[in-house]
Amino acid sequence: MSEATASHEGITGLVDDWAADKQAYHVPWGKAMMWIFLVSDTFIFSCFLVGYLNVRITTTQPWPPQSEIFALSFGGDPIPLILIAIMTFILITSSGTMALAVNFGYRKDKVKTFWLICATAAFGASFVGMQAFEWTKLIVDEGVRPWGNPFGAPQFGSVFFMVTGFHGLHVSAGVIYLMWVALRVKRGYYDDKGFEIVEIAGLYWHFVDLVWVFIFAFFYLL
């Protein structure tokens, strides 16, 4: 891809890459476009999180205690935030399997790549399943609604459903995207084209994990 030899690194390389009427990014076009998409998606999620910051500050009603609301009991005393912690670990596990899939893709090991992408998608699907369980518990048992809840500030519900819903939508879309890539890997569609697509799909998946890192910190922990 980078036939216009990208010789310099760092700042000199930056100046070189932008210094003339030529290709600025020495990566496959699909990867550059995925990055541009992810930057735009960053802004969407940031708008949600900054909106959350604003309503959290402006509301004069007390913010509901997340740690206790998202607690779950396995027979004994409720363990605070346990479901969210499990979801976090599942998403990190899926990020790891995806990183390995990218690596084996470039090694042209199609069988391992296929199964690792499948594992990633399966972890993603279980994440969405747990989220569905969490939503059900909150709506049916706790009576949380987008316009109000029994604990405190009504904005809690609207932020919760919007932010986690939009993230869950990304995970669901990612699962479908990954399955599609996995099937094409298995069928040998990329044998001649190269396996950059696995890395591009991986970028999307890691981004979904990245967004969850911020949601976990700001919405659930703080």
């Binding site: 891809m1 690194e9 760092g10 700042i11 390389g13 930056l14 890459d17 932008w18 990014y25 020495h26 990566v27 990055w35 541009i36 992810l38 930057v39 802004f43 940031s46 900054v50 910051l53 604003n54 959290r56 500050i57 402006t58 004069t60 009603q61 007390p62 913010w63 206790e68 609301i69 009991s73 027979g75 409720p78 605070p80 935030l81 976090t88 670990f89 990190i92 990020s95 790891g96 990218v102 690596n103 470039y106 090694r107 048992d141 604990f151 405190g152 500030a153 190269g194 396996f195 890395e199 991986g202 890691h206 990245l210 890192v213 911020f214 976990f216 910190a217 700001f218 922990l221 703080l222």
Partner: protein
């Protein structure tokens, strides 16, 4: 480096970062589990968050191995968000102050917990033990 061969790195670094992400997530959860509160909670949660985010972007998304032209395209624009965050916190604090001072909102209101709520209503939801 990033070239026709794509991003190929030894597997070991992925395993190390993977374990590190687990450990950092465990620390984040421990902050809540051990009920650390106040400024320390914010500091710890935000440090662990940025470390995790940094490792994901740098290693899993290969940003450290990309050329600077691409890295700045990715990381440059989002830094503008810091200004938005700053503005919205200042504006938010001002709005909150107005509501307390002029609209008679209660500064000492306390949120209810699920335990308190379900305790009042008696047995709720059958198998749920709150």
């Amino acid at each position: 480096m990033a070239s026709a061969e794509g991003q190929q790195h030894p597997l070991g670094i992925y395993y190390k970062i993977w374990i590190l992400l687990f450990v950092l997530s465990g620390f984040s959860y421990a902050v809540d589990y051990l009920d650390v509160q106040g400024a320390l909670r914010w500091t710890l949660v935000i440090i662990f968050m940025f470390l995790k985010a940094g490792f994901i972007v740098a290693i899993f998304m290969h940003a450290v191995w990309e050329r600077m032209a691409l890295v700045l395209t990715i990381l440059g624009p989002p830094t503008v968000l810091l200004i938005l965050i700053g503005f919205m916190s200042i504006e938010g604090s001002y709005t909150e102050g107005l509501r307390f001072d002029y609209m008679g909102h209660d500064r000492n209101a306390v949120a209810l917990t699920p335990a308190e709520l379900h305790g009042e209503e008696g047995d709720h939801g059958g198998e749920e033990e709150h």
